[in-house]
Amino acid sequence: MIELVEIAQGIVERGIIFGFVVAGVHLSSRLINFDNVAVEGAFGIGGALTALLISWGLNPWIALAAAAVAGGLSGVVTGLLHTRLQLNTLISGIVVTTGLFSIILVIAGSNMTLGKETIFSSLPLALAPYQPLLVLGVLCILLFSLMSWFLKTEVGFLLHAVGDTPQMVTNVGKSVEGYLVLGLVLSNMLAAISGALFVHYARYFSIWTGVGVLIIGLAGMILAQVLSTNFGIALVLGSIAYQALIALTFELQLNQDWNKLVTATLIVVLLGIKQWLPRK
């Protein structure tokens, strides 16, 4: 039984960490209707900057905040490429992710080990095994509440409008482009926070950590929609569900070559079930 609890704990921890990417993907593709490929680069830059700052001996919380800011900046770039240079949404994201690869290499190299403190090493020793879970849980509730509140303010409503009815934004005398950039800043910021948290959690940075993050984000978002299509804690649950599916795939211990197909099939099954549900 202990084994299962440990596995479940790991699934929830990773689920929360990647839940921020899921939230980022949701913000961009559902709210402002922008397929944001730049989350992958933002995730990487968040992790790289965190690794560098912690290795300098900076307070890990400040490192986390700095990572969020760096992610936000990458969102500004993505947004400006789209609004000012009229690049296609996908292309702007691809360009940013591609460019960030080099910046990440310069910042942290291809691999960096954190020997020092992380945000998960601040609680008393008795709680040590549950530290990541506790810290992540609190952080997740805080940030998600903050985002939910923000999306209900006037600015939040206008963000919704950018995706649905851009004309309305213009009608009230606001700039659609400005709100689009704001949406991308938030989206990339969340992805960067996720990347930073993963580095805190794993205690090392690798340039390959970002690989496949976009899929994790998309899959988590789609699974979350089984529960709710609104921004909220459902996104984290979707992310946890995806991590559980991956863990389950490993647990089945089929020939490992089939792992990815099994994961894909499990997602289809889960979404298929949604179709049988009575509609509201």
Partner: protein, 322 residues
Amino acid sequence: MNKIVLMSILGVALVGIFVIKRMQKPAGNARYTIGILQTASHPALDAAREGFMQELQSTLGNEVAFVIQNAQGSVSQAHSIAQQFHANKKMNGFFAIATPAAQAMSAVEKERPIIISAVTDPHALGIIHPTTNVCGTKDMIDVKAEIDMLLHLVPHAHHVGLVYTSGEVNSRVLSKLMRKELEARGIVVSDFAFGSEADVHAMVELACRKADVILAPTDNTVASTIAVIAATALKHKKPLFVSDNMLVKSGALAARGVDYKTGGKRAAQIAHEVIVEGKKPFEVPVEQPTCEQIFINQTTLEALGLTIPPELHNQVVLEEKR
């Protein structure tokens, strides 16, 4: 309401599968169970795994069972697997192949022994310390011997192009050492680093136009794309030296580097010492398997019009292009 009922049924079913799979696990009558975490599917890493398993099976027979998992190149999946291994109390030890697997495994497991292989510089990863639970073999090559071989085969070399992946630690560490060694002998060195497999062809074309010898460190992308690299080098009549002996078969001119299978076998002997004989991992230093042989591809050698100098004759193993 229906949603909640359905989701809970699903949740229970999921937990059920976990429980059933866990109960089934006592793998026959094996006394030792070893979890193998491989970073990605790739010939060198597969060879390390096979060498490891063969060696342990030959000494322990049915007493050892393996649980093999592959992270398929994803760091988060490597973590996921490492954590599931950690939760499995029936496992006596772990075998982590290549750097990301070693890092993920040692980040999660702090007590039971972790045997590593195909890791270039474990000390730089901070996983080897006085009370470590990590031991095994690395895949660092003897750079000086490799450069000696290069100059024996191509004495007129004056500009060497290094091809490697910019994002791989092992490649960066090795290419720096190679550059230092070559420059010490008055040879011009240029870097031709690529970001991903997609850039390999263009970058190697460029390297072949600029340099007169191509040299590659142990590198996952080079291993995957060796066919393209070897064909391009041959087209330009440039000798291609690699650091993974297995790649010579695929058309590279020569290598005096790492034999991953030997590394895996040696790691298995270390695993035996630690898991069966009960030595502490920190008592067993990380080893660097040596390579006394030079692997040369005869077809490529003839195509380039080169000959093997007499002083190398007794070290050379000739390989045919498949």
